[in-house]
């Protein structure tokens, strides 16, 4: 796996046990003896992450970049694939190099762009082969159920407030696909997964903390998703489509660097607590991060006021997702909230201890709850 992902996943986790998996081994036999039934899948625009939990409480997350680099079928392409260990899918006369190798290859060749089977949180409608490519990746990352009709929860975004987009068909496609793999599959809101993983609490004077209550925000590549949770129930949920990919595109436009280069700099160098303003890409990223956070706060206030959402106590905001992983992200978000009139008190903004895995782990917790109802 490339150094790019290693950097993303880097030193964020509090207690992390690193392991590398051989590309072509079969994990099913190990899974059958070690894991609790119930699997969570974060079907993201940028990454697919699958979580299972061992009986000792350890979450095991398998992840793969949800991106591909197309190569037309030719003798040169066949030769390249034969001499390398690139993983590929061949669909309709085109080789698609999958995962991090796609990003490496496009940076090495210096022309073209990676393609994404997902866009703005749902199947990419402008890529003809999107469903087929996505399913190859999902199938290879998820594996087989460990019990018959094993409960599986997959993350879905809420409908966005800034675009006329309905995610029901996307949800059906995924449900159908997981069912074909032998799972009892159900969708779960992406932001609510963060509540199940991070357990935000509401504080009231003289009362015990109310669990699974607060604002949860998943900042992904295609969308940021937000939910107001109360005792595990979702009271309000919505999303906005301009998130990490939007940042990359805007920065690419104003600096002239390719999207792939911008992604590399964002993931390897950017520190929002200490931006190198001599680096044009970092400077532009900093500006667009502020723009995105300002927009996020604006929509939060607007939606909660429109829906007359009220909470008795003081609540916690928990943030996760790949786009939140730039150091200093939560500090900037807290700054953006200052001076804004919110319909309830916020006592702190907390970053998930495992921001890249919170959605998959939360979905896994929910799937385990589904299984526990059966037993």
């Amino acid at each position: 796996m490339s150094d790019v992902l290693d950097d993303i996943l880097g030193d964020k986790e509090v207690e992390v046990i690193e392991s590398k998996k051989e590309k072509k081994t079969k994990p099913e036999q190990v899974i059958e003896t070690e894991y609790n039934p119930g699997v969570g899948v974060d079907v993201g625009t940028s990454n697919i992450v699958v979580a299972r939990q061992k009986k000792d409480g350890t979450f095991v997350n398998r992840f793969h970049r949800d991106m591909l680099y197309p190569l037309d079928v030719s003798d040169e392409a066949a030769d390249l694939l034969e001499r390398s260990d690139y993983l590929y899918v061949k669909v309709d006369g085109v080789y698609y190099i999958v995962g991090d190798d796609a990003l490496k290859l496009v940076n090495a060749i210096g022309k073209g762009e990676v393609v994404r089977p997902m866009k703005d949180g749902i199947l990419n409608p402008s890529l003809k082969e999107s469903s087929e490519l996505l399913f190859y990746i999902i199938k290879a990352v998820v594996g087989s159920p460990i019990v018959e009709n094993e409960p599986l929860r997959f993350s879905v975004p809420a409908n966005p407030v800034d675009r006329d987009l309905d995610n029901r068909f996307h949800e059906m496609i995924l449900k159908n696909f997981f069912t074909k793999l032998g799972y009892d599959a159900k969708p779960v809101n992406e932001a609510m997964c963060i509540a199940y993983d991070c357990n935000p609490v509401m504080k009231e004077e003289g009362e015990a903390d109310t669990p699974l209550s607060g604002i949860c925000c998943s900042c992904g590549a295609g969308m940021w998703n937000l939910a107001l949770a109360y005792k595990g129930l979702s009271l309000v949920e919505f999303s906005c489509t301009k998130s990490g990919d939007h940042l990359d595109e805007q920065v690419s436009k104003v600096t002239g660097y390719s999207n792939s280069k911008v992604i590399k700099i964002k993931e390897k160098k950017l520190d929002l607590n200490n931006v190198d303003m001599n680096d044009r890409v970092q400077a532009a990223l900093s500006i667009y991060y502020d723009e995105m956070l300002g927009r996020m706060v604006h929509h939060i206030c607007k939606e909660f006021k429109e829906k007359s959402s009220e909470m008795e106590g003081s609540i916690e905001i928990v943030v996760a997702g790949g786009t939140s992983m730039a150091p200093g992200f939560c500090n900037r978000l807290e700054e953006a909230f200052k001076g804004v009139n919110m319909p309830f008190d916020i006592y702190r903004v907390r970053h998930s201890e495992t921001p890249f895995y919170s959605v998959s782990q939360g979905a896994c917790v929910r799937a385990q709850a589904d299984y526990s109802k059966l037993t």
Partner: protein, 116 residues
């Protein structure tokens, strides 16, 4: 009971009996369907198409929010074409994170009470 050319239920004497058989038409057509374009069209149509929908020859009373009709379409999209191939069976790096089992179990207990 058939009706004969003389308009009666008995044949006219001396005329041959001609029986009309109902021939069931069978028509199989293989088409290349651009499923993504279909999905896009459906996604755009969602919420805007009241009335009836026809999927695989079956008619549904509802619009495309009808779970049955959406499920049929989804099913048609998850068939992998025969000429596709991949050089891998499984994928992905692995990262383990440790959580307190008691805390996770508390959350599971709370979630057991939720409907869906």
């Amino acid at each position: 009971m058939p009706v004969f050319s003389n308009g009666k239920k008995e044949p006219e004497p001396g005329r041959p009996i001609v029986r009309h058989e109902v021939i069931k038409e069978t028509h199989t057509e293989q088409q290349q369907i651009d499923v993504t374009a279909l999905a896009k069209a459906v996604a755009e149509a969602l919420g805007k198409m009241p009335g009836r929908g026809i999927v695989n020859g079956e008619e549904y009373e509802d619009d495309f929010s009808n779970a049955k009709s959406l499920d049929k379409l989804a099913d048609s999209m998850t068939v992998q074409r025969g000429n596709s191939e991949a050089n891998f069976d499984d994928l992905g790096g692995v990262k383990e994170t440790k959580k307190d089992v008691k805390e996770v179990n508390k959350t599971i207990d709370l979630l057991r009470g939720l409907d869906n």
